[in-house]
């Protein structure tokens, strides 16, 4: 999306998903090693590991594809 600058909304989206996903994934790994006393329903599926990984990968995809460097290159190519 043209935003008037070199940072796209998709870059911010990627940043948000990536950081959140990394935190959730890391928490899932920690819980795998140190299982909590009070477990949520379906804890055995370890949703925080695979869901965190999905968010992290999506975040990395958006952040890299719409990185400020690529946006600048794209905009200079247009002008």
């Amino acid at each position: 999306m043209k935003s008037g600058g070199s940072l796209s909304i998709w870059f911010f989206t990627g940043l948000c998903l990536g950081v959140t996903g990394a935190l959730i994934f890391a928490t899932g790994i920690y819980e795998l090693v140190n299982p909590p006393v009070e477990k949520v329903v379906l804890y055995e599926l370890h949703a925080n590991i695979w869901w965190g990984a999905v968010l992290l990968i999506s975040g990395l995809f958006f952040s890299l594809k719409f990185s400020p460097a690529r946006e600048r290159a794209r905009m200079s190519g247009k002008s």
Partner: protein
Amino acid sequence: MNLALLLSSNTLVHLSAVDIAIIVFYFALVLGIGLYLKGQANTGEDFFMAGREMTAWVAGLAFLSANLGSLELMGWAGNSYKYGILAAHWYWIGAIPSMLFLALVMMPFYYVCKTHSVPGYLKLRFGPGAQTISSVSFAFMTVLMSGINMYAMAVVMKVVLGWNIHFSIIVSSLTVAAYVALGGLRSAIFNEVLQFFLIWAGALLIPILGLIEAGGWNGLQAKILHNLTELNVPNPGSYTHLWSTLGNFNSNPMGINWAGIVFGLGAVIAMGYWTTDFLVVQRVLSAKDLRSAELAPIIGAAFKMMVPLIVILPGLLGLALLRDPHTGALIRLVPANIAWSDAGQAQGLHGYDEVLPLMLARYCGPGLLGLGITALIAGFMSGMAGNVSAFTTVVVYDIYGTLINKNATDEKKVHLGRRWTIWGVLISIGTAYLAARAPSIMDYVQALFSFFIAPLFGTVLLGMLWKRATPAGGWTGLLAGTLSSVGMYTWVKLDPNAVRYVALSMDAQDQAQNMFRALWCCLICVIVTVVVSYLTTPKPDSELKDVVYGLTPIPKTEHVSIFHSPVFWGAVVAVIFVILQIIFW
């Protein structure tokens, strides 16, 4: 609601350090976006219309997100617990046909006449009378909605997390004020797109894990039937059927029939909301060209069809799966006024609207819980930002720019826009505390829609499609429709037996009453407009160019392949919509 109880220490969930880190990161990010975009909101077109340079995807996702606030998420999850799958009508027939109608029929008008707002269109079509009624009522509605959103969120944060109610209101509203005042509509849209992804990331796990636990859709249906039969709930089988129980008023949990859903919801409330509520239309008007403006509501419609997955399904899962972990007894959620009363709190009761947080707490451990709570906060702030940015545009362009200073410079408008953003937030804080005194929040919200949106749709539709409609017909019809809606609402409040006349049945619940009241007031608006128009002199055709169908040359969009055509994708969405109705019939 009893404030003392809201300040009690009973909370549904407890946040860990990683949950708090996710929430803090989100707040820092939205403020950072506001600061980044400050330098790009220097003209009125930038501040109020985001420079009209949004792509179809961004405008479409913002169009949908502006409606996907946390009041919507938790309210409709609660309604699906209360009414069953009938609540999905508000996402399907109550959204998809009207979004397609906006895209393919109405958007060209809005786009061609380059209006800044829906009241602005009414000025072009009917003159300042209709514009004044519409802009004043819209400004009034947006600050009320913004305040109600704010208060509802603060209450939920109090009940779910134990946060201080004033803390929630002040922190969230200051954040919204900062990023909208800095970056205008562009900043609001950026955050709406961000919120769209956060909501899906935070809420999609609930239906996935819920369906695994329930044994798929068939297992879910069987469990709901079993549980409701055990609780002696009437018509237990009707909770998972969309249309087959709408033959009679008394054979479904909502007390409504198919006519109320099709005409009251689909033809009036939904058409009115999605095509004339400036809050959502403003997002589409920011599109960079006509094809993007037509595609944006279609993209929004495609995603809207999927929202029941994260809103309606959790409510149904609550009906099927919520049991006391210690006794194994079924947990039955109750109306909020009972749950939050002294007696209700003492018994540990939960309200309908708590079903989504309850399901969140059921499946989400540290990290995932923070994401889910962040999604709810993002939804709240986005809903509030949407109302505040629309309020600011209407105040600056349609009230100040029309009634007070017609020659205001662009620079002055941007300056006023920033200032009125702050005022909008401050007034919203006031209305939030006003909402705290109301016995039922959702009752107020739905009443507001039927007062202002339903008659407005009648006026805008006649204005666009019927060139004989006159300025006098326009504003008298709008005024008659609004007053008749307020009148019917007051009549039922004063005499509950009047429900049999307004909603055609004593079985009609709140939502059914809203649908029929909207239908009648829209019809009254149309009839008054037609009668007064025939009694007064119409505008000459030359003055109606660009504002009436048939007198407006619609610019041809560039020749594109079928896969880039709005009509093609509109047809695809329509077919999927029909298939969904058949599957869940």
